[in-house]
């Protein structure tokens, strides 16, 4: 039966990531405040799409920055701070001497993905870690064009952009506030609908 399996067989989905890093965005307890705190970091999943070529599979705001790398051989791991710093530093050197595909006008084979350092710097997380690189990157039009290509699909890019830039206006013709005064009726720490 297809759903009877061992952990090593089950680890082909984001389940393995979840077991390693937890449910993104759930670190905070349900808060009472009504405004969302600004994200301090980003959670990024980078996938190896061909040997030495990488794409951003997903990215969303999180309390702290974590980069999960899914390698071609199926392994998944979280990049250490040292690895991230090293990658950003190496990429910075390539940006300086113009060999980074990020700052080239039409980088060769960009659609297949770029090296890990380039992809990392395309992500919001990379932009946060590498903020010291500053304007030489963010003001560069080639970078702005190329970074989109490092997302696995246009919708991944759009979703990432939206999740980091949320508009905040209120509408007038709609109803809201339902269950606003609802108290949890459960006596455990949580409820148990359907229990």
């Amino acid at each position: 039966m297809k759903y009877m399996k061992t952990l090593s067989m089950a680890a082909t989905t984001g389940l393995a990531t979840l077991l390693a890093t937890g449910l993104t965005g759930c670190g905070q307890k349900p808060a009472e405040e009504t405004t969302q705190p600004q994200a301090k970091g980003a959670f990024v999943i980078i996938e190896e799409t061909a040997p030495g070529k990488y794409k951003i599979k997903d990215e969303f705001p999180a309390d702290e920055t974590r980069i999960v790398l899914k390698e071609l051989n199926g392994t998944e791991r979280v990049l250490t701070k040292e690895e991230m710093d090293k990658l950003v530093k190496e990429e910075a050197a390539k940006i300086d001497d113009g060999t980074s595909p990020l700052v080239q006008e039409n980088p060769p084979q960009a659609s297949e993905g770029m090296g890990l350092g380039s992809v990392l710097l395309s992500s919001i997380a990379g932009a946060m870690i590498g903020s010291w690189i500053g304007n030489k990157l963010f003001g560069n039009q080639n970078y702005q064009n190329n970074r989109k290509a490092n997302y696995k699909s246009p919708s991944t890019y759009q979703r990432s952009m939206k999740s980091f830039n949320k508009p905040r206006k209120s509408a007038t013709t709609k109803r809201s506030g339902f269950f606003g005064n609802k108290k949890s009726t459960s006596s455990r720490s949580g409820g148990f609908f359907g229990g």
């Binding site: 039966m1 399996k5 984001g14 449910l23 349900p30 206006k169 269950f179 609802k182």
Partner: protein
């Protein structure tokens, strides 16, 4: 006797790092048991088959309720009838997932349906994630589990767009519809159950967002909004009957939104038909003496022990066990005493050597996809414990 395998428990720190915060009950005892129920491959197969067969029977029973206008009979609030019919008529209102509570299936006892939590099932995090983590913690990577809940949900999320078994066309057919996930503020179990579903939907490729119910804006003509962004898909871990009874304006707005095709809501309104324990009587009438069913009536069963259950009770509240003469022998008063009741033949749950009772929770997402257990007294309430399993 239930066969148990003792394990090293997960630390609360690790559970919290997963987003699983409801690890300790109000009496300070751990909610997650430090043992696994050992089941055989044949027992796992039997659960799988039972869930699939039961689901087909629920579809038949739902059709019967709608055709014969039996909404009142099974306790459905009148202000949801229209939205239930509307959701039943169109395939886009796809059932994301549910959980069957089953007696038996282990220890040589036959599988019997207790109820189907089709609308707002919890214990999802425990079943899909925590019991895998228990295997991992105990270096049991090569031990099997009947647990594909995560990937079954991954696939079924795609079916919300493909509307068929084959999910390979999801990416070409998904047109960027935005998916909002909602729970009631102030309850971490419900919130993180919803966030887990959101996490899976994001992995599938949906554009997702989370909001508490009080922040979400509704318009019958325009649809569902949060921060001025329109959401075509909405998951709410809020029982439909609570919407009907406590926020009747919202029930009306959601009916309009569905009729105007401004959003699709999960789980769909018709899942309330399955969630109502009133349908257990309909099932028994349609499938008398079916081996997976317990006799169920709207009055106490004469000459046999039975269990009185409110049609929309939760957490074992107001559930009572009656003897052959209709006298209460277990259970007491509760919040749902004034609700419509059904009476289901009593079946003894399998027990361990300490006398704790075990009930299986079988998840269903297009097909049966995984099982977990709860243990407690004869009536499982909100102090019952979650017990993982291993297929030996």
């Amino acid at each position: 006797m239930v066969t148990l395998r003792p394990i090293t428990p997960l630390t609360t720190d690790y559970l919290e790092s997963l987003g699983f915060e409801w690890h300790t009950d109000r009496d300070e005892t751990p909610y997650i048991a430090d043992s696994l129920v050992s089941i055989t491959e044949a027992e796992a197969e039997a659960y799988y088959e039972a869930g699939n067969e039961l689901y087909d029977m629920f579809i038949e029973a739902g059709e019967y309720v709608i055709e014969n206008n039996l909404f009142h009979e099974i306790g459905i609030p009148f202000n949801l009838v229209e939205v239930i019919k509307e959701s039943w008529e169109n395939d886009v209102h796809w059932h994301l997932y549910g959980r069957f509570d089953l007696a038996g299936g282990i220890d040589g006892k036959p599988i019997k349906l207790l109820e189907f939590n089709a609308d707002t099932p919890t214990a999802l995090f425990e079943t899909a994630i925590v019991q895998w983590a228990m295997l991992k913690r105990n270096h049991m990577e090569e031990s099997a589990q009947f647990n594909g809940v995560y990937e079954a949900l991954l696939e079924n999320f795609k079916r919300l767009v493909t509307l068929q078994e084959d999910v390979s066309t999801f990416e070409e057919r998904y047109e960027g519809w935005k998916f909002l996930f909602t729970s009631i503020r102030g309850n971490s179990e419900e919130e993180n159950t919803v966030r887990l579903l959101q996490h899976i939907a994001s992995e599938v490729g949906y554009e997702t967002e989370f909001a508490y119910i009080d922040e979400v804006e509704f318009s019958g003509e325009e649809g569902i909004f949060y921060h001025d962004e329109q959401y075509e898909l909405w998951f709410k871990l809020i029982p439909w009957e609570d919407i009907a009874l406590e926020e009747s304006d919202l029930a009306m707005l959601l009916t309009q939104i569905i009729k105007n095709q401004k959003a699709i809501i999960f789980n769909p309104a018709y899942t309330l038909l399955f969630q109502s324990k009133g349908i257990l009587k309909i099932l028994w009438n349609l499938y008398p003496n079916h081996p997976l069913l317990l006799e169920t009536s709207d009055r106490p069963l004469e000459g046999q022990m039975c269990v009185a259950k409110p049609v929309f009770g939760r957490e074992g509240e107001s559930v009572r066990i009656l003897d052959e003469n209709g006298n209460t022998i277990e259970g007491g008063e509760g919040d749902y005493d004034n609700h419509k009741m059904i009476y289901q033949a009593y079946t003894k749950l399998p027990t361990d050597e300490e006398g704790a009772h075990y009930q299986a929770g079988l998840f269903f997402a297009y097909e049966s996809c995984g099982v977990g257990f709860r243990k407690g007294g004869k009536i499982l309430d909100n102090m019952s414990k979650f017990v993982g399993h291993v297929v030996d």
